[in-house]
């Protein structure tokens, strides 16, 4: 299982809102594929799949706030 993590976005940024997921639960993802978009401090950041596999969970849904370093979802 590989965790999709909200990456470091810069000093002083501790969280970000997930604007939208591009993938649905059960979708087969390729490593590097765009999975969701985090919005913080007036900018949006595209988050990519860290590994190939199926999207098996989404922990932070559209409109919810995720913590930097926290898990957004998992791929198996």
């Amino acid at each position: 299982m590989t965790k999709i993590i909200l990456p470091e976005l810069g000093e002083g940024i501790t969280n970000a809102t997930i604007a939208c997921w591009h993938a649905k639960l059960g979708d087969t993802l390729q490593k590097g594929q765009e999975v969701c978009e985090a919005v913080t401090d007036k900018a949006s950041f595209v988050i990519e799949a860290p590994a190939s596999g199926k999207l098996t969970s989404i922990s932070v849904n559209d409109g919810q706030v995720g913590l930097v370093g926290g898990v957004l979802g998992t791929i198996e």
Binding site: E37, A43, F45
Partner: protein, 251 residues
């Protein structure tokens, strides 16, 4: 006297800048001076391109190509252009943000297009200078907050150069003159390469903004021309914008 390497490097860089500074005055790609090709190969710098008046979706495709190039290791790109009248709907566009029916808007010759960015509705039209900095942020601090702040400061500085006192407001996107918004800012980042950027209202037809709630906010838009009360040349704004980007990101 023999210049020290750092001084020489800076001199070459400035010389290269001077060579392509006027390149964007003509529609098409940058670097009209053959010598600057040689200098570019020695000094990493941004590539300035002017795409002229270009359809939003065409520009977006070209922008994506540039992003891929920069991700692959190419120099930063600074793109300048204008778009024919278009409403772009971000992923978080509220249904209330369009103040007229879609067909009424389209009958006025304005295209409506959905885009894969966050944020609400935005209007682009001729007279609005669009600036797309496609920068590798790994080389500029790798910090979204700092990058956004730098863009806002640059925008305020740009207006100051034209005698306009503007401010950025904490928590609000863009740059304001009093309560009115004059520059919109929206940035996307992929693999730490930035895209989208600034919409600077130089001489935009402000009546078009009455069709929407810009960025979903109850805010009025203004332009440099409206504030100054006389014509502001797009060419001058482009020149100053490029100069400030060089100063802020490369000096």
């Amino acid at each position: 006297m023999i210049p020290r390497p750092l001084v020489l490097c800076k001199w070459l860089k400035r010389f290269a800048n001077g060579c392509d500074r006027n390149a964007f005055l003509e529609k098409g790609d940058t670097l009209k001076c053959p010598l600057s090709f040689f200098l570019k190969s020695m000094v990493p710098e941004m590539i300035v391109q002017d795409w002229g008046l270009i359809d939003y979706t065409d520009a977006y495709e070209r922008q994506k190509d540039c992003v891929q190039k920069v991700i692959a290791g190419a120099q930063d790109h600074l793109v300048l252009c204008e778009h024919p009248a278009v409403l772009t709907l971000g992923r978080m566009t509220s249904p209330d943000s369009l103040l007229y029916q879609r067909h009424e808007i389209q009958e006025r010759g304005i295209t409506i297009t959905s885009v894969d960015r966050g944020g609400d509705v935005t209007l682009h039209a001729p007279g609005q200078l669009i600036v797309y900095p496609i920068f590798n942020l790994n080389k500029h601090g790798k910090n979204l907050k700092a990058y956004m702040q730098k863009l806002e400061e640059l925008a305020v500085d740009l207006l100051k150069n034209f005698g306009i006192l503007a401010i950025s407001i904490s928590g609000k996107r863009g740059v304001f003159v009093g309560p009115d918004k004059i520059i919109s800012i929206g940035v996307g980042v992929r693999k730490w390469v930035s895209y989208h950027g600034l919409g600077i209202n130089v001489s935009t037809d402000l009546s078009l903004f009455k069709l929407i709630k810009p960025c979903g906010l109850n805010v009025h838009m203004t332009s440099m021309q409206k504030i100054k009360g006389h014509e502001v040349l797009m060419k001058d704004v482009k020149n100053k914008t490029v100069e400030l980007f060089r100063e802020r990101f490369y000096d």
